[in-house]
């Protein structure tokens, strides 16, 4: 358990360290007060953007990490010399930190108490098997490598999917960076880092709500926490380890905060670029490589706002802001900008076609589900009339939130840009999973609006007891929903356990050079999670699994060795009988077996 906590602290420390100097030196004055919470996100952005640029310049993470840390150190010292430190010794910071700490431990609870060592844990989703092999791969390779067929290397399929089809380069390279810095493997970091990203989004939601309403009271902090950190809809995505989505969400919130502050300042010098332009463009550039699919959600509202303010006030200034940011985003890394634009076009066109959705059915979320007061997945789907009854007051609170906003037009632009996605994915081209993703990308704004709306309502209520009761009620609803999802993770998690990890012993053995089968080739597919992780842990060995059996069918005639789990040697009447073992540990054995039919030989 202590290893997980140490790793947690180390990752957070590095994120703050990398982002601190740059944030302290560049953050505009009117954001400085809250900037300490931007620091880990600026760190994330810098690591992703710079690592990808270096990578495209053929400098892999194993070299570029030193440069990034050195630059961060220089900027850190420069910020101290320039006396541009970021303030943080406030009561508000303390409370926020406590809630952040609680969120971290709440979400890491199954890992800390049930597993006990740094590894990957998932409710069921196999995404870690895309990210972690690529994370390890990119330490010493470039994003332009991989994606090609190599005999007996089934794990390489992930590099093709993520690097050459999905163009998600930034998200795995963050794993590479931390893996390399801490000399760990990506699977050891994955669950911890995604929890950190989710947790550190919360202070941003709070800062957004606070800045939108211009109110600094604890009610906003409480409701942001209740509707974001304990939001079961988000926790479902978190426990299903949709890694890149959570990095994207945090950066997206930061973009919204920065742009809101930018338009609030009304800078007059339009010819020059300023730190807002640079920070927002860097954040958007990071999105192009971390989660290209999210780019349209972040960039379209800025365009809509530019157009609306031109129409409303006959003022092109916000359009010029947008163009400056766009121009900078395009030149910071035109390659990722180009691939992201391509990906967005591809996704928009593919979302309009009905096709098989490889995910368990999720009901379309109502406002009650969106705020996390009701568990969308593990509670009974409510009838439509109840959705409407419960949804109505929430919608009213959101509306009150909008009414009490500063810079309403900007927030309306955000909603106006997103509504077509909700409508089209809900009714025109119904796709429950895409709809769900669209909702979870943008949930932070509803959380902020809810907090602002509630804050306004509370300003009308003088009785503290009533306020307290309302907070407790909402807390109870949210916590109950969150706990139901956490319970699922605790009892039904898929874990990269010690047996799988023990395969690293075989992976390191240099005297076994011949290719071998894994047991699924004979026994059939039983557990996809295990099979894919076996491929991951045996990436330096030549193996044939169900993954590459078809492509290797002409190269398996001379393979005589089979790897199997000791307590899983038979299935559905088929049994592996070992005649000779050349390697074994507590969980696995490798050797020759008595002849039997492979899956591809069966009728």
């Amino acid at each position: 358990m202590i290893d997980i906590i140490i790793l947690l602290v180390k990752i957070i420390a590095v994120l703050f360290f990398v982002g601190y100097g740059f944030t302290a030196l560049l953050i505009p004055k009117n954001l400085r007060k809250d900037a300490i919470w931007f620091t880990p996100w600026v760190g994330t952005i810098l690591i992703a953007v710079l690592s990808i640029i270096f990578n495209l310049a053929q400098i892999p993470v194993a070299k570029s990490a030193y440069f990034i840390l050195a630059c961060a150190g220089i900027l850190f010292i420069a910020s101290l010399i320039a006396r541009k430190t970021l303030p943080f010794l406030t009561l508000e910071f303390l409370f926020t930190t406590l809630l952040v700490g609680f969120t971290l431990f709440f979400n890491l609870f199954p890992l800390l108490t049930k597993v006990g060592f740094p590894t990957t844990i998932s409710l069921s989703n196999l995404d870690p098997l895309s990210y972690t092999p690529v994370g390890d791969f990119l330490i010493n390779h470039t994003v332009l490598e991989g994606g090609t067929f190599e005999h007996y290397k089934p794990y390489l399929g992930a590099t093709g999917d993520l690097l050459h089809a999905g163009f998600r380069w930034g998200s795995p390279i963050l794993l590479s960076f931390f893996s390399y810095v801490f000399r760990l493997k990506s699977y050891q970091i994955y669950s911890t880092i995604i929890t950190i990203f989710f947790t550190f989004s919360f202070p941003l939601v709070y800062i957004l709500a606070k800045r939108l309403s211009q109110k600094h009271n604890m009610h906003i902090l409480s409701f942001s926490f209740i509707t974001f950190s304990l939001n079961a809809t988000l926790l479902y995505m978190l426990y299903n380890v949709f890694y890149a989505q959570f990095i994207f969400t945090g950066i997206f919130i930061l973009v919204v905060i920065l742009f809101h502050a930018y338009i609030s300042e009304e800078k007059k010098d339009l010819r020059n670029f300023n730190s807002y332009d640079l920070l927002i463009a860097l954040a958007l550039s990071a999105i192009t490589t971390i989660y290209p699919e999210g780019l349209i959600f972040a960039i379209l509202p800025l365009l809509v706002f530019g157009i609306l303010s031109l129409l409303k006030d006959r003022n092109p200034i916000h359009g010029i802001y947008f163009l400056k940011i766009l121009l900078l985003t395009l030149v910071i890394n035109p390659i990722t900008a180009g691939t992201a634009i391509g990906q967005n076009v591809k996704i928009i066109t593919s979302s309009t076609q009905s096709s098989f959705i490889g995910w368990e059915h999720i009901p379309f979320a109502s406002p009650l589900d969106m705020t996390g007061f009701y568990n969308l997945y593990h509670s009974k789907d409510l009838p439509v009339f109840l959705d409407i009854i419960f949804g109505f007051p929430i919608a009213v609170i959101w509306l009150l939130g909008i009414i009490n906003l500063r810079k309403k037009l900007f927030i309306l632009s955000l909603l106006l840009a997103w509504i077509p996605f909700y409508v089209s994915l809900r009714w025109i081209f119904p796709n429950f999973f895409s709809f769900h993703r669209a909702i979870t990308y943008t949930l932070f704004l509803y959380s902020a609006l809810f907090s602002i709306g509630m804050c306004f309502l509370f300003s009308l209520i003088k009785n503290k007891m009533i306020k307290f009761t309302i907070i407790v009620l909402f807390l109870f609803l949210s916590f109950r929903s969150a706990q139901r999802t956490l319970y699922q993770l605790y009892w039904h998690a898929q874990v990269v356990d010690k047996s799988l990890i023990s395969l690293t012993q075989l992976n390191k053995k240099k005297d076994i050079i011949e290719p071998f089968f894994t047991s699924d080739v004979y026994l059939g597919e039983d557990n996809l999670w295990k099979r894919l992780w076996r491929e991951y842990f045996l990436m330096d060995r030549d193996i044939v699994t169900l993954q590459n059996l078809v492509t290797e069918k002409d190269n398996v005639a001379n393979i005589r060795l089979v790897l199997a789990e000791k307590n899983y040697l038979e299935r559905e009447g088929k049994k592996l009988i070992y005649t000779n073992k050349i390697w074994e540990n507590d969980y696995y054995q490798l050797g020759t077996i008595t002849p039997m039919k492979r899956i591809d030989d069966l009728p």
């Binding site: 310049a57 053929q58 332009l144 890394n333 390659i335 391509g342």
Partner: protein, 736 residues
């Protein structure tokens, strides 16, 4: 021939025309006087920058070009309506004359000999890489299907991957691609021409740089124009098609013009981003996009300048803001090649280059002292034509050149910045020559920095001229004569020795594989058959054939493309089956006759081979043979084999040969049966060996083994470093 003139003129006009608006829009007031000669470089920088960014974003050159041209035209109209239009003065006319003379002079080999638009080279093969890359990039995105490009499975030449993803030299091909697309030309037609034009257009920049640093006279005007136009070292680079290098010369001089003007004003201290910052930042970005090697020649001196200023001017930071702005713009707009270049430069410096025997990959300019001294650097004495001057004389004249340069430095504006440049350049000369012992790196460093050095020298010379007019005039006339003499000498050499993409290569475009129904069949060239044809020929054949060519070894009945014998060309002699599939004046396409059945069925007498005479020589020689010669052939290494085809009974093997040196003994085996050993002399003699048991009809392998090999470079004191043993005139089976 008319196409050579037409496209030269068209390129120049397009560059000037498209740059008109953008130049007036961006040019600081102080430089308005030079707008005419800066405008093509504004176009070049803009085109390279925008085309690369758009390509990385997903727009090909063909897609982006109309948008770019349209935007620049609109800007032209706007500027034309707002301003009085371009003005031309006497100085411009003189400069224009030099530009035109430079173009004509350097296109001589095309105009006089080739008579059509193509690529020529003094020997270097880089041109094919640039041509293939510019063809490729017209319709393709740099970062699309990189993995497939690396594996050479795309419809692209193998060198394209290297250009875009190994050396990150994106600028030259994308610049050429823009004009190729505009004029509907292919890479081989435009590669050399575009370099000649870029070279010519860099000459006015050198003159402008001089004017920025010094108040010139008519004397210095003519001197600098002649020195820059006819410097033999720069011409050597041009004639070898170092495209990136040539583009860099212009970009570098352009950068220096703006840098010296900017740092000579009070603007660098301002916090706002100035026009200079943007122009300098983007120009440096384009340098990194085009030729990252050159980056250190700009960044290094600026770093030294900052340090010097910091220590000499009471720890002031006054130039930091300007430099920070320039570098931030450069890094943001060209981060990938910038970091690649920085990493490569650092790695290069850290690498141990003290090994004097390290392969340089370039033929020494001359065996004795291949490092040009200052006198040779200036082009007064051509190291490409003459042996080194006597040491005393070389030191003396070099000293005079160095004194003139230093004098020029003393009399220039912005001396501290100039000194910083000079310090770094002298260090780089020292590093590449005395530390690295790499004459070619030294030569590159020299030629990168020549525009700067020439300007300082001219300023010094002009100052001497102002002091002592008569004697300096005489010296200047002598120096100008030497420069012209060296340039003409190299130009003549170019016209005599150049290799070209001649009509025979171009004729391969007539080969329509689809019409012949051979689309899916691999085709082999002479290179795959014997591997020893000149690289220029191999590469350009591949350029015109790709992707029809195969990488595998040919088999019997494989499709073979052979060139026909021609003056200065000695193609391999291979047996092809009848009838031939296709032929034109220069090439023949047929199927390889290589199987036992085919060879035994041939009407020719294949029981012997007479080198240089028989039409099937390369079909019979198997391994251990050097390149074809007119009447004989050397064996290479300690063993060589051949096959002979017999239809009758033979009892002896005979050959006429001599050894390069003695002692030498030859052992002969036929079909792995030892036939005997005999000593060989260094004179032509006939040797006969009895075949144990005789041989009947069939294909027989003859193996020669030699006790010694010798290098002609050691025996005959020439540059031939091959390991040779015996030279054969003929080999044949005979009956007793």
């Amino acid at each position: 021939m008319i196409s050579i003139f037409f496209y030269s003129l068209a390129t120049i006009l397009v560059l000037f025309f498209l740059g008109y608006g953008i130049t007036h829009f961006f040019l600081p007031k102080k430089l308005q006087l030079y707008a005419l000669w800066l405008s093509p470089w504004f176009t070049i920088i803009f085109l390279v920058f925008i085309l690369i960014i758009l390509n990385l974003l997903g727009f090909t050159v063909r897609q982006a070009s109309p948008i770019i041209i349209g935007s620049l035209l609109l800007l032209n109209i706007y500027v034309f309506l707002k301003t009085k239009g371009p003005r031309v003065n006497k100085e411009d006319v003189i400069i224009a004359c030099f530009v035109l003379v430079s173009i004509f002079f350097n296109l001589m080999s095309l105009i006089k000999y080739e008579k059509f638009l193509t690529t020529v080279s003094l020997g270097n093969n880089d041109a094919v890489n640039y041509a293939a890359s510019s063809d490729y990039i017209i319709d393709t995105l740099m970062y699309k299907n990189v993995a497939l490009l690396r594996q050479n499975v795309l419809n692209a030449n193998a060198n394209v991957y290297d250009m875009f993803h190994n050396i990150y030299r994106w600028g030259p091909p994308i610049f050429a691609a823009f004009f190729q697309n505009l004029f509907h030309l292919q890479g081989y037609q435009y590669t050399y021409l575009s370099q000649v034009i870029l070279y010519a257009l860099h000459i006015p920049l050198v003159f402008i740089l001089l004017k920025i640093l010094y108040k010139p006279t008519l004397f210095s005007l003519f001197s600098i124009l002649i020195f820059a136009t006819f410097n033999v070292n720069l011409l050597y680079i041009l004639y070898h098609n170092f495209f990136g290098h040539i583009l860099f010369l212009g970009l570098y001089t352009f950068f220096l013009i703006f840098l010296f003007l900017y740092f000579g004003s009070n603007e660098p201290a301002k916090r706002e981003v100035a026009l200079y910052d943007i122009i300098l930042g983007i120009t440096l970005a384009v340098i990194y996009y085009s030729y990252y090697y050159g980056g250190i020649f700009v960044i290094g001196p600026l770093a030294v300048f900052v340090l010097l200023r910091f220590f000499l001017k009471k720890f002031t930071f006054d130039y930091w803001p300007a430099l920070s702005k320039i570098f931030i713009i450069t890094i943001i707009t060209s981060s990938i090649p910038f970091f690649f270049g920085a990493n490569e430069t650092i790695t290069r410096f850290l690498k141990n280059y003290t090994d004097k025997n390290a392969v340089i990959g370039w033929q020494a300019f001359r065996n004795n002292v291949p490092y040009p001294n200052p006198f040779e650097m200036m082009g007064f004495y051509s190291m490409h034509a003459f042996e080194p001057l006597p040491v005393i004389l070389a030191i003396l004249v070099s000293l005079l050149v160095v004194i003139t340069i230093l004098f020029g430095l003393l009399k220039s504006k912005n001396r501290l910045l100039l000194t910083s440049f000079l310090i770094v350049y002298v260090f780089l000369y020292y590093w590449t020559s005395l530390v690295q012992h790499n004459f070619f790196d030294y030569y590159r460093a020299v030629t990168y920095t020549l525009p700067f050095i020439l300007v300082l020298f001219t300023i010094g010379l002009n100052e001497f001229f102002l002091i002592k007019k008569k004697s300096t005039t005489v010296i200047a006339i002598a120096l100008i004569s030497l420069v012209l003499f060296s340039a003409v000498k190299l130009n003549k050499r170019m016209n005599q020795e150049y290799v070209s993409v001649n009509q025979s290569f171009v004729s391969l475009t007539q080969l329509n594989i689809k019409d012949l129904g051979l689309l899916n069949e691999p085709m082999y060239t002479e290179y795959e058959l014997i591997g020893e044809i000149p690289l220029w020929k191999a590469l350009w054949t591949e350029y015109f054939l790709h992707p029809k060519k195969s990488q595998k070894k040919p088999q019997d009945n494989s499709l073979i493309l052979l060139s026909k014998p021609a003056p200065r060309s000695n193609p391999p002699q291979i047996l092809l089956k009848s009838p031939l599939i296709w032929e034109n004046k220069y090439y023949v396409l047929g199927r390889l006759c290589n199987s036992r059945e085919c060879l035994l069925d041939r009407p020719e007498n294949l029981s012997g081979v007479t080198m240089g005479e028989t039409t099937f020589e390369d079909s019979l020689l198997i391994s251990g043979w050097s390149g074809k010669e007119s009447t004989s052939r050397w064996s290479t290494g300690k063993e060589s084999t051949l096959r002979l085809v017999t239809k009758e009974w033979y009892t002896q093997l005979a050959f006429q040969a001599y050894s390069l040196s003695e002692p030498q003994t030859i052992s002969v085996s036929i079909d792995d049966t030892f036939a005997g050993t005999q000593p060989l002399t260094t004179n032509w003699s006939t040797y006969t060996f009895q075949i144990p048991g005789g041989i009947s009809q069939g294909i027989h392998t003859v193996r020669f083994q030699y006790t010694h090999t010798y290098k002609p470079s050691e025996i005959l004191k020439n540059q031939d470093a091959r390991d040779l043993a015996v030279n054969f005139r003929w080999i044949r089976f005979i009956k007793t």
